[in-house]
Subunit: 214 residues, 2 copies
């Protein structure tokens, strides 16, 4: 593939949504889709889809649309999902256990290989037949299994310490559920799942709507 | 306040992060903060913070910085968090129960007032002493309590039906954990919590990093 412009992060973040929508289409037995139809499913314009995909080469044919399976394979390749990424989860409270039980984390390029907690009462218990290990074993598991990805479902008060531990162990990408922004060195990606912040941004619109400012 | 430009959504989404950081500062006993210091805590530049806040008026003084409590009050006012928003949760699987138990949903402008599930085996059970009601009661509860906000923790396969039900009941803002994009009419905001999509956007960077493209 010829060298193209570097795609902005917002484009990279949309690719998994395209991929998932294409998987749903395949499940429905649809093998060809226009950018218009694909866009309607994910509330993106057809022009946006074409522009996003143009960063990665030529896909689809004018007037024919995309071959669903081919486009899905392309996007999975771009996202690095043709390989399986081992992933660990730190924090096994209510949320951590729900995450560990979520089947989505076991599929599509991801494989949960370790659960960790710093609470001695939890270490040795298991979640869906996966044993909870002590945080002290993070480094060993990460190195033995070549883990680069971690999910952090810990309280805000220990999120920075756990981040430091993960980074020292060799983790390069962290998905954090802790309600605090952590500091990580260059070359380590941290993303946040932050439902309260999302809800608080929606109350802005609700409040304005209620005062008829819309 | 004089009429200023309409702030873009990306600014509205950052405001809850500013507010939370200011709350942490108060807890630490810090009463004055520069845009530089505030920015360092949330990985945003000082210039970005000043620009974001400029949409809403004049805050802080040159060389003195922001009064933490005052700025927090301003932002909470902007976000509509000076009032309490009743919120309901639909779907009480592992994830729904973890959400229902999360204390964050009971504080800072939000009050969980109803849990719903369409599984007859779950209806009548309770989570942290809150009774699970049938989805058939959503409309009644939403109307009686004037609920505008809902969290949806249901499988992708029923997310659209639940969305339609919520919208018909009068819900105006939905935070969805279902891994699918739903359709909602104008004037209804839907936001997504989508950990798999986030992880799949991070594997892009990991894959490129591993092939030394960075």
């Amino acid at each position: 593939m010829e060298r193209l412009d570097t795609p902005p992060d917002v484009v990279i973040r949309r690719l998994p949504l395209y991929a998932r929508s294409l998987r749903y289409l395949l499940q429905e037995g649809v093998h060809s889709v226009s950018s218009q139809e694909l866009g309607e499913r994910i509330n993106v314009t057809a022009a946006q889809i074409r522009k996003d995909l143009s960063y990665f080469g030529e896909f689809g044919k004018q007037g024919i649309g995309y071959d669903v399976q081919k486009l899905l394979s392309h996007i999975e390749h771009i996202l690095g999902l043709t390989q399986e990424w081992p992933i660990i989860l730190v924090g096994t409270g209510h949320l951590g256990q729900a995450i560990a039980r979520y089947e989505g984390f076991r599929s599509r390029g991801l494989r949960l290989v370790g659960l960790f907690d710093d609470d001695p009462a939890k270490v040795g218990q298991s979640v869906d037949s996966m044993l909870i290990l002590s945080n002290e074993e993070i480094s060993r598991v990460v190195q033995e299994q070549g883990v680069k990805l971690a999910i952090m479902a810990v309280p805000a008060s220990c999120a920075q310490d756990v981040t430091d531990l993960l980074v020292a162990a060799g983790i390069r990408a962290i998905l954090s559920y802790a309600p605090i922004i952590v500091q990580a060195p260059e070359g380590v990606w941290v993303r946040y799942i932050d439902p309260i912040a999302v809800l608080h941004s929606m109350t802005y619109y609700l409040a304005r709507y209620e005062s008829n400012l819309f």
